[in-house]
């Protein structure tokens, strides 16, 4: 004769209550930890975004604090403004220049400073120095380097790239490239550290096995290092895209958006409009930038994650 389990009349209720109580605590507690972040995020991110969206739909007079509802006409105005398209194109070109350099140069540096050789810590510090150099100092230094009588101009003449000393920041055709080099230089050390952390998480025995199997250093880099660094590549790419879309300081300090708007990026365009008290236009352009930044980051993450899966397969 088989006997079923003895169930006390109130046992179910008791167990249920305990389970519910534990679940509740588990659900509520995280919110308390999140409150400070949510408040900060709300105050400095969500509210400004909502306010910018609100302003973009008004003909807003920021000093008077009032504005008439004008629907999407601010968006229409920026989309018919040649300067806006030029700023958008400049932002895109800036990203095209900076993205591959920011992804690959720090990776190579990280591989180099990941070696067990004497004095490597000094190199790590040296490469990190630009990161902690204030942008104002960096901009002044690069302005001197780029000046007509500066070292870069001299080198370009010696290489035969220019007939006479040329300030790259002053020429419309080279100014954006010249500014983007400052961005690359400034971010080199920071991204190198990200890659360095990624490299140090790769098990050494993978390289040892590859070495025993006769793989060359280049083959190890191509088939082990790059695939294993895929998460770092994603991180660096996304960070570069977001930073590139909101590039401002180096441009404001070196060219001010010139010559003839050749280095006016989207943020510079927004800044100029805002300072001219065209806050509704600035807000509309800001919303466009936000949408583009979210879109580009999502696309980049999707593309990179599928590439990571391929590489791991």
């Amino acid at each position: 004769m088989s006997r079923g389990p003895v169930v006390l009349p109130n046992a179910k209720v008791k167990v249920g209550t305990q389970k519910k109580s534990r679940l509740s605590m588990r659900h509520v507690a995280p919110w308390f930890f999140l409150i400070p972040s949510l408040l900060i995020l709300g105050t400095f991110l969500i509210i400004p975004i909502l306010e910018a969206f609100q302003w973009s739909l008004l003909d807003y007079k920021i000093i008077a604090g009032t504005g008439e509802f004008v629907g999407l006409s601010n968006f229409k105005e920026i989309f018919t403004d040649a300067n806006f398209w030029m700023a958008l194109l400049n932002t895109f070109i800036f990203l095209i220049i900076v993205l591959p350099l920011n992804v690959f140069l720090p990776m190579i540096l990280a591989v180099l400073v990941n070696q067990k050789i004497r004095g490597v810590s000094t190199f790590r510090i040296l490469y990190y120095l630009p990161v902690v150099t204030p942008m104002v100092v960096a901009a002044l230094m690069w302005k001197m380097l780029y000046s007509q009588s500066g070292i870069i101009s001299g080198i370009l003449v010696k290489l035969g790239l220019f007939d006479s000393p040329t300030n790259l920041l002053i020429q419309s055709s080279t100014a954006l490239f010249a500014v983007s080099m400052i961005t690359v230089w400034k971010g080199l050390g920071y991204y190198m550290i990200i890659y360095l952390a990624g490299l140090q998480s790769i098990p050494k025995d993978v390289y040892e096995s590859a070495s025993i199997d006769g793989a060359s250093v280049f083959q190890q880099f191509r088939n082990i290092t790059i695939p294993m660094l895929a998460p770092s590549v994603t991180l660096v790419s996304v960070m570069t895209i977001i930073a590139g879309m909101k590039v401002f300081e180096e441009i404001a300090l070196t060219t001010g958006g010139g010559p003839s708007g050749a280095t006016t990026t989207l943020v510079m365009y927004i800044y100029k409009k805002f300072m001219n008290l065209d806050v509704s236009i600035a807000s509309a352009a800001g919303i466009v930038l936000l949408v583009l930044a979210i879109g580009a980051s999502l696309l980049q993450m999707k593309l990179t994650s599928s590439r990571e899966d391929d590489l791991r397969a």
């Binding site: 659900h27 919110w31 419309s172």
Partner: protein, 442 residues
Amino acid sequence: MGKQINKVVTGTLAAALSMSLLAGCNKEGAEKTSTSKSGELSGEVTLWTASLAGEPFDTYFDELEKKFEKLHPDLDVTIEDIPQNEMEQKVLTSLTGKDVPDVVNLNPHYMSNIAAQGGLLDLTDMVSDKTKNSFVEGPYKSGIYEDKLYALPWYLTTTISWYNGDHFDQAGIEDLPTTIKGIYDTAKAITDKTGKPSYYPVINDGNTIMEKMVSLSNGKSMVKDGKAVFETNKDIIDYFTYTQKMYKEGLIPQETAEGSLKTGQELFMAGNTSFLEGGVTFLGPIESGAPDVYKASKAGQPLESESAPVNVAVMNFAVPAKTKNKEAAVALAEFVTNAENQLEFSKTAGTVLPATKDSLEDDYFKNPGESPKALGMLQASESLERAKVLIPPTESSAELRESTKNIFVKNLQGKLTPEEAVKQLSSEWNKAFEKSDEKVTF
């Protein structure tokens, strides 16, 4: 239960965010009205100056503050200096918040931008006719926007020319050029001797080019009822043609495209450029930074016909509409800009002119001495006789300046022909006036 709590927490957070948003949207705030007891001024009043910190200005403003407080014992005056390059941001931030200064030092173009949004107090009926008549006409008009007085003129700088006497001697040139062709010939002769670019046209944010265009037009209108009419103006096309030619031939330094007077100062100080136009303040850093160049520096009249109008750059004092103490603010603005205090300020600064008629009669401006700076002051006070605010404050001024700078640089670098550049500029100005619906003439 858990779901309910989640909903409560989410709802509370959403409500908190909405409340903050609503609070953030409320721009009115709690404003205190101005206070005056039985006609006597009382309370607190704050005045902002632009980049006038350190000696000798600290002593000057301390004395000024004491004198005003002695006149109005119930008033507490605070004078605060804001760096020039932060002024616009700081003014904008304060005007959109509650902590506004009562009197603020602005340039006419930014003043008109703020006035257009109702940010400044209309002083038309608050200032006496005696005060209004005490100012030189041109600078006084720079405080007027849409027929209302929004600011009182304080100190001025007029455009003069500065040149390196040694370089001119080397090239055997005795007289300053007065035409654009003359500028080209002079620049070529000096560059041939020194081997360095010699002429630096200051662009700034585009305003100096706009002013130069008006000077060169010499009486011919540039804009009539909000329509640009300079498209076929030969003098302006010549100006664009010769500057492009000079840039191409290396007579103008590449750095000109950056536009700033500061860069021109650095090049002049290093002996890498020989002549340019600017205010008397130009020589300040050169006196301490390059004494030899300072000694060789000479001042002259602007590089155009002697009958052409010259621009006067004005720094003025405006009163934000949100001031909590209107009467005291206006009284302070009038006090700081009266003839006696303006004269004293000009002597303290040593490189600016006062905006009051009486102050300019002082011997200090008639016989300033023999130093390069003093001779510059003499030239500036002479050019003041034909000086005007050449570009009136308009709502479109930011767009006009930006398009002028961009198109002038494109022309300079040969991206457009001079004719194309002038045509494009004319079209950009028309677009700006059309947008703001302004029927200005200048």
